[in-house]
């Protein structure tokens, strides 16, 4: 029940910790860390799959237009 005390693991010795806590049943730490890794990835992937907001797309369109107008000579660019 005192497993929680073993939680603040020294950064450089995680494997040692795991074997130590393994003696009183399966260690929570590796499972927990695997779980954390999966949640992190799941969270990030859910963000990745969100559609790009229109305001960002139109911002890039505006920037693109502005700079192509700048690049062209005013006389050539004024087709309209």
């Amino acid at each position: 029940m005192r497993k929680k005390d073993e939680k603040h693991v020294a950064d450089d010795a995680p494997s040692k910790r795991m074997t130590e806590s393994a003696e009183d049943g399966p260690s929570l730490e590796p499972q927990l860390q695997a779980q954390i890794g999966r949640k992190l990835k799941a969270m990030y992937d859910s963000y990745l799959s969100e559609p790009v907001p229109d305001r960002l797309v139109s911002l890039l369109e505006q920037l693109d237009e502005m700079s192509s107008q700048r690049e062209q000579k005013p006389r050539e660019g004024n087709k309209s």
């Binding site: 029940m1 929680k4 939680k7 603040h8 693991v9 950064d11 049943g25 399966p26 929570l28 730490e29 499972q31 927990l32 860390q33 779980q35 954390i36 890794g37 949640k39 992190l40 990835k41 799941a42 969270m43 990030y44 992937d45 859910s46 963000y47 990745l48 799959s49 969100e50 790009v52 907001p53 305001r55 960002l56 797309v57 911002l59 890039l60 369109e61 920037l63 693109d64 700079s67």
Partner: protein, 184 residues
């Protein structure tokens, strides 16, 4: 591919990074917008063939920190209220779902959060992450470790609920069940 198309390609990743840092869609989109404008105006300084994604992440990160410093004082009160609200409802954490994870991530200091996200989710190497965060590779490593340890602490209650009951609760449950049976 023109620069706009190339930038466009990286927006989902930039947004995901910004959302991970802020936990807030409006703030994240503001950051992405700012980063895109900055990137656009300094596009000629970007060297073709180098890592555009890392370059964009660096710009977004800088935007995040200047905003973070600016807002820190204003937001302090709101943050305090939020923290109080969270800690007064611990019973809501039973099972570690994505929202629990997001909440725990919010608790991390930004330097640990960004290191964890860059390495664990964005798929950067430690060297790239060190470049983006403008620090040593060893610093990135220790920040990632500290982030994992802290998340482990914050989420261990849920994990006990998830993994623990076999050994911890089973005797109690069995006991209660048999008692209930003897009463009936």
């Amino acid at each position: 591919m023109n620069p706009r198309q190339e930038l466009l390609q990286h927006i989902p990743n930039l947004r995901a990074f910004a959302l991970s840092l802020t936990g807030n869609a409006d703030q994240a989109d503001d950051l992405v917008q700012e980063a895109l404008m900055k990137a656009w105006t300094s596009l000629e300084r970007f060297q073709p063939g180098t890592n555009m994604r890392a370059w964009l992440f660096t710009i977004l990160r800088n935007a995040f920190y200047s905003e973070f410093r600016k807002k820190r004082r204003e937001v302090e009160d709101a943050d305090g209220a939020m923290a109080a609200k969270l800690s007064s409802h611990p019973e809501q954490f039973g099972h570690m779902d994505l929202d629990d994870f997001r909440r725990a991530l919010e608790e991390l200091p930004p330097d640990q959060k960004e290191a964890l996200v860059l390495i664990g989710a964005s798929g950067f190497s430690y060297e790239e992450a060190a470049q983006i965060c403008e620090c040593a590779v060893g610093t990135v490593k220790s920040r990632v470790n500290r982030a994992r340890t802290r998340l482990g602490e914050l989420l261990s209650v849920e994990s006990v609920a998830e993994y623990g009951p076999d050994t911890v609760a089973q005797p109690i449950i069995t006991n209660v069940q048999s008692k209930g049976r003897s009463v009936a």
